[in-house]
């Protein structure tokens, strides 16, 4: 923001800003939005190389030996933390898991105080999960120059590593994004995963991206992110190549967003029958953990078109790629 004709700025994508080094390498990984396509492809390609590490007898490489990575989780998530921890360990980094109850910060220590303390322990990377949108950005803006920040989910804003592992999974099955129709189904409103998926799909040049759900779960003006909105599964899944289901939090039944899990499954649950309108070759994805019988039927989750377990496997390689690129970018400067 400057002087001049200040209010005349047209809306446009946010700059990648602090995420990149001056020579365009990944320094922090906070959001997919604004990143160049080449960088996303580099993440995917690097992840392909890391995907082979699991075949080794010793399932690790010495790349980040001597580096310290702190999993800084302000919101509990054993699952995500575990995949980051495993990724870090496969890179031979030392890992410190800190689950910080936000009530502890209320006691007096501010978020910045916590950061300063951890920096003083010579850490190289923070993997951050926080309940507030923008938390990862905030932390990245305030860390010492030798620290990289990876966003492991901030509020409803972004979950970029999840989106990249989804892209990795899609590319393994359907390499040409420009020919794909992708439907994202469920609670778009509260989903950081959906937002990151939309940005990633759009940057990779996906043919069509749809969001499907009841109006209470679709955020305002989401069309401006470049997606088509559907309120019915029959229309939204028609001829789709990829169906990305989202997890429905049980607390959405409170606050008048949805009447019941039963009715939600009736309308938006993914069943074999619903899936029949999608392309025959369609794959089904889910970031997990799955609520069977709420957003997806067991016959689909465990069926031949489900790639849900592959997503989990690929998640480690993608996180290894992002971690090593971010620490490496710092080294290269």
């Amino acid at each position: 923001m400057t002087g001049g004709a200040v209010t005349m700025r047209p809306p446009g994508p946010l700059p990648a800003g602090i995420q990149l080094t001056p020579d365009g390498q990944l320094r922090h990984f906070l959001t997919i939005e604004g990143l160049p396509r080449a960088l996303l492809l580099e993440i995917l390609d690097t992840a392909e190389s890391f995907a082979g590490v699991k075949n080794q007898a010793v399932k690790k490489v010495p790349l980040l030996r001597g580096k310290t990575i702190v999993n800084l989780f302000f919101e509990a998530s054993t699952r995500t933390r575990t995949t980051f921890e495993l990724a870090a360990k496969r890179l031979s980094a030392d890992v410190l898991n800190l689950n910080i109850n936000t009530t502890a910060t209320v006691k007096g220590e501010s978020l910045l105080d916590t950061l300063r303390n951890l920096e003083a322990m010579y850490t190289d990377m923070f993997v951050v999960r926080h309940a507030d949108s923008g938390a990862a950005q905030f932390i990245a803006r305030h860390v010492a120059p030798h620290v990289s920040v990876i966003n492991a989910g901030d509020g409803r804003h972004a979950h970029p590593t999840q989106a990249m592992l989804d892209m990795f999974t899609i590319r393994r099955h359907k390499p040409d994004f420009s020919r794909l129709c992708v439907a994202i189904v469920g609670d778009i409103m509260h989903s950081r995963v959906a937002r990151s998926q939309i940005h990633a799909l759009s940057i990779l040049g996906t043919g069509e991206v749809r969001v499907v759900g009841p109006k209470t779960l679709i955020p305002a003006e989401v069309e401006n992110l470049g997606v088509r909105v559907f309120h019915s599964m029959a229309d939204g899944l028609k001829d789709a190549d990829v169906i990305m289901m989202l997890r429905l939090q049980k607390e959405r039944m409170q606050g008048a967003l949805l009447p019941s899990e039963h009715e939600y499954f009736q309308l938006y649950g993914l069943t074999e029958e619903r899936l029949s309108v999608a392309k025959e070759t369609a794959i089904v994805m889910h970031p997990g953990p799955i609520n069977r019988g709420v957003e997806i039927g067991s016959e689909v989750a465990d069926g031949s078109r489900s790639v849900i377990l592959q997503q989990v496997t690929y998640g480690i390689a993608v996180r290894m790629a992002v971690m090593s690129m971010a620490i490496g970018a710092r080294a290269g400067r």
Partner: protein, 428 residues
Amino acid sequence: MNLQISQGRVIDPAHGVDRITDLFVADDRIAGIDNAPPGFVVDRKLDARGRIVIPGLVDIAARLREPGQEHKATIASETHAAAAAGITSLCCPPDTNPVIDSPAEVELIQQRAHAAGFCRVHTIGALTAGLKGQTLSEMAALKAAGCVGVSNALQPLANPLVLRRAMEYAASQGLTLFLHPFDHALANQGCAHEGTIATRLGLPGIPTAAETAAVGQLLALVEQTGARTHFCRLSTARAVNMVARARYDGLPISADVCAHQLFLTEQDIGGFNSLCHTLPPLRTRADLETLRKGVAHGALAVICSDHQPHEIDAKQAPFPATEAGISALETLLPLTLRLVEEDVLSLPEAIARVTSGPAEVLGIAAGTLGVNQTADICIYDPDERWQLIPKRILSHGKNTPFSGWSFTGRVTHTLLGGRIVYQVDSAS
């Protein structure tokens, strides 16, 4: 002491004055314009050539943070900043700690303001006891203590029945209600305008309807009760049109907008800029345009600062966890003048929105340069260009999103009751 302010361009919107002339001040009163009154002996002469002489500004909403939040700011620090900004009267909302719901708090604030001596401080009393929204405050006592109106600030009322009764009771005491049209249930703890930016950043949104539904309810109750009501801090185009229509229909209402809503939109939140975290939230370009029209046509008779100074830590957190509000005293006049530069309204009209307009809403004798009025005067240099640097502002709150903006026009002198309470360093 007799003071002659000579050859400035005197603009007094309340009296239709706009000419280069002399203004005469005897002790704390304005003694004459154009010609000295009989027997006036000049003790001191202030050369105002090339300057503009206007009534001291009246700010309808400025948080001083005292009592209760002295780590953010104090009455002394903020009234000093007000004086530097040409503001000679300001109005303090009741959400201090303790809240202004009894004469004791009113007296405390008046004493401190008087001791500081920079600016007149008026208080708006709490509408409900403790601002809890349940039971009525002792409004007659608050009025007797000097409150110029009653308000529940940004705190919710239990239900429309409490609101109706509060309006009726305030009206019977002859108190104006200062109400924020903000439906807390619809706002649902949001922190940004519900639209493209909130969706993109994943910020909980505050829909336009949180304001318009509240305006609709308030208008219905004003019609029912006849209570004189001021609508605080409109932010949406629809609300401006609703208020304009109701004024046309003859309802006893008025409304204000804060200056930053006339210059910033949701876009300015950009990458989680917590300095643009405000309540009500920054809205869209279309809302901004209509707010500007409302100011130009007079449906919004008041531009205020909605000053909310914060300590640094209050803005140092993830966006939703930061405190809302802008430190805005020192951008009130600069932004208002900028509206003139951008051809939104004429200079006398713009001056009216920050002087006679708010004075009339508050029912106080201020905001004019009429003979025998208290000599609260602001003199500014209309040609000086300057850049806002947060650490140089006088308010203890450095939380301004206008850092780096260039402005034209800078206060050189502020007179409070004929006494110079601020004088720019380089001024003679």
